[in-house]
């Protein structure tokens, strides 16, 4: 039995305008999706070149979901994106070269070489850096929402989590607190159908993760995560509802993880057919077609975006590669915060 509401795909440009995006915004969304994929593709190359230490994760297939939600966020909203959500960092405006620096363990990555992969965030962009432990950031996002509620600010927090991570206690406790206090938080489940090699039916026994929202006293919505505009529309509604005192929403965005869990994983356990089917619903290709059909995106525009992204990436790679590795002497600095660390916009 499905309890959650299934969101419809987005149709016309008019409908999108109503949801708050004009044509320029749409092209920007498209650009952000391409940039997101580009960053991860270049990351993959860097990895194969031996320039990225450790392991390497991407969110291929999740570009629409990540960018769609982030586009719906306002500048004062905050979020805790995870390892498939590069599009959130991109949309919030992180400088791509800093991501490459992060990947390569250089001092100019947001964590200054201390952590790797997408374990990072630019706090000036309203993002909080994830930890590996899933979904430990979810209660943290709930806490951000609690701060907004206490101060009576009209802001929302967005907490991402995977469908696999939905099995953990942190998810339950965070949603419970958010539900009983009607906190301004939007939970976004990136349901990419696999948790490493584990299929969804071994992670939860409902049809959809969103079916659980009811158990916490709020609404659950299932949306096609390859439809960036549908994701945007649902996120926008949920964020506005949160900001205006309506409490949390759980949005489940369904996609397929289009690669292995990480670089080392060939995903042999995913049926080939599944990949083939979902490849047809590539979120970028899908949106490109939509833009051409519904917003008259021209060849020139498309090319311009493609080449701007390419330029950005090339510059970013170059700049990142100039960033030095950290000095060993920096290791022990800053284990504890000092009062100046509280000189941030949030602590005013």
């Amino acid at each position: 039995m499905a309890i959650a509401r299934e969101a419809e795909p987005v149709g016309s440009l008019r409908e999108v305008r109503e949801a708050g995006l004009d044509r320029d915004d749409l092209l920007q969304v498209y650009r952000n999706m391409i940039l997101t994929r580009g960053i991860e593709e270049r990351g993959h190359i860097l990895y194969r070149q031996g320039k990225i230490p450790g392991s390497f994760y991407t969110g291929r297939g999740n570009e629409a979901a990540a960018v769609g939600v982030a586009t719906a966020m306002g500048p004062d909203d905050v979020g805790t994106p995870l390892h498939r959500d590069m599009g959130v960092h991109v949309t919030r405006g992180i400088e791509p070269w800093r991501i490459f620096a992060q990947y390569m363990g250089r001092v100019d990555g947001p964590t200054r070489g201390r952590d790797g992969n997408v374990h990072m965030a630019d706090s000036n962009l309203g993002l909080i850096a994830m930890v590996s432990h899933l979904p430990a950031m979810l209660p943290v996002a709930v806490g951000a929402a609690l701060a907004f509620r206490i101060r009576e600010e009209k802001r929302a927090a967005v907490a991402w989590f995977g469908e696999g991570a939905s099995a953990r206690g942190d998810c339950h406790e965070g949603m419970t607190l958010a539900g009983v206090r009607k906190l301004p938080v939007v939970f976004v489940c990136d349901n990419n159908q696999w948790a490493y090699s584990t299929p969804t039916h071994l992670e939860f026994a409902t049809e959809h993760v969103a079916d659980r929202a009811e158990a916490y006293g709020f609404e659950g919505i299932v949306v096609d995560g390859t439809d960036v505009l549908a994701v945007y529309r649902e996120a926008k509604r949920a964020i506005e509802k949160a900001r205006s005192g309506g409490g949390p929403t759980l949005i489940e965005s369904v996609t397929l993880r289009m690669e292995g869990h990480a670089v080392h994983d060939d995903a042999f356990y995913v049926p080939k057919q599944m990949f083939e089917e979902w490849a047809k619903a590539d979120p970028i290709e899908r949106f490109r077609s939509w833009l051409r059909e519904n917003a008259n995106m021209t060849d020139e525009e498309e090319d311009e975006i493609a080449s701007e992204v390419k330029r950005t990436l090339t510059d970013a790679l170059k700049r990142a590669d100039e960033s030095p590795l950290p000095e060993p002497s920096q290791l022990t600095e800053g284990v504890y915060a000092s009062p100046e660390d509280l000189d941030t916009p949030h602590h005013k």
């Binding site: 850096a129 930890v131 209660p139 609690l146 701060a147 406790e173 419970t176 000092s338």
Partner: protein, 322 residues
């Protein structure tokens, strides 16, 4: 100055900060209408409203995780665990998120977690523990363990002011038993500075929390031995300089704590002294701590578990005669 119990001093410190700083809020199980299991926040909800004194669901991970998020958004949360023992349910949030966020991502997490800890009244295995050693090992966390009402107030205010996650261990057995004059105004006691509870020349006791009083009683039983008691006050960071200075004077040390012995924080102190003051020592550094068992319920067992005045007196005697 007013005479306050240790418990009243904690309330007073918390109330002082909540009045002074709107960013401070309290969250925990039954802290609102009920005023907390030990009534530390009695009357707070009336004064500060139910969005600054929040009755949380029975969910320690949510409580600590939410504090972390709120702190990052500029608040100064003070969480109450109903008993320190239940912090085990929020271990991951503290160790994985709060402790490492500053170092990894540059994000300060100024939260305080209040932990009513310690035994002495048949609370049994789950209402009596002293879990400070477990947390003191985790880089990024601070551990505060006041023994006096004055320190209880001043250290709580320091903890709230501190830009780091601070675990504030308040010893339940001191709550109503220990009273002293406490300044009415706001003041802080620095985190990381020990206090000489009493001066002496022959043996140094390094301890904290309720054991300060056990050491004091034990010292009284030895007319012929002059005992210096160093109350660490904060276990992480701990005041190595003050300890080493005392050791240089007495050349003999007893490290005393209520938590179990093996791998307890006393080991760190003893190992450090043995390494850094090797040439100054006239006797091995002795440790007295609880035996390696859970905390027992029945009084004769609990008495055998918690270090007693006689145990400490015997240890002091042994060191004096070494």
């Amino acid at each position: 100055m007013a005479e306050l119990t240790y418990l009243q001093a904690i309330s007073d410190g918390l109330r002082t900060e909540m009045r002074r700083d709107k960013r401070v809020f309290v969250i925990g199980e039954d802290v609102g209408v009920y005023g907390g299991a030990f009534k530390v926040t009695l009357g707070f909800q009336e004064e500060f409203g139910h969005w600054r004194v929040i009755d949380a669901p029975l969910a320690e991970t949510a409580i600590v995780g939410a504090c972390t998020g709120a702190a990052i958004m500029g608040m100064r949360p003070v969480a109450e665990m109903q008993f320190a023992d239940f912090i085990s349910c929020a271990w991951d949030q503290l160790v994985t998120v709060a402790a490492k966020q500053r170092w990894r991502a540059g994000t300060a997490v100024p939260i305080v977690v209040r932990l009513p800890s310690g035994g002495g009244f048949s609370g049994g295995p789950f209402h009596s523990q002293n879990p400070e050693s477990s947390f003191a090992h985790v880089p990024g966390l601070k551990c505060v363990c006041p023994a006096t009402p004055e320190d209880a107030k001043g250290l709580l205010i320091s903890a709230i002011e501190d830009p780091n996650p601070v675990l504030y261990f308040e010893h339940k057995h001191l709550y109503r038993r220990i009273k002293a004059e406490v300044p009415e105004e706001r003041y802080t006691v620095p985190i990381g500075k020990a206090r000489t509870h009493q001066e002496g020349d022959d043996v140094t006791v390094v301890t904290w929390g309720a054991m300060v009083y056990t050491a004091e009683e034990a010292a009284k039983q030895l007319d012929d031995v002059s005992v210096e008691i160093v109350d660490l006050r904060t276990v992480m960071p701990w005041d190595k300089a003050a300890v080493l200075e005392s050791v240089r004077k007495t050349s003999k040390v007893l490290v005393l704590h209520e938590d179990t012995r093996t791998g307890g924080f006393g080991a760190e102190i003893a190992a450090t002294i043995a390494e850094d003051a090797f040439e100054d020592l006239d006797a091995p550094v002795k440790r007295i701590a609880a035996p390696d068992t859970p905390v027992p319920f029945s009084p004769p067992l609990e008495k055998a578990f918690i270090p007693q005045v006689e145990d400490v007196a015997a240890g002091l005697r042994e060191l004096a005669e070494y």
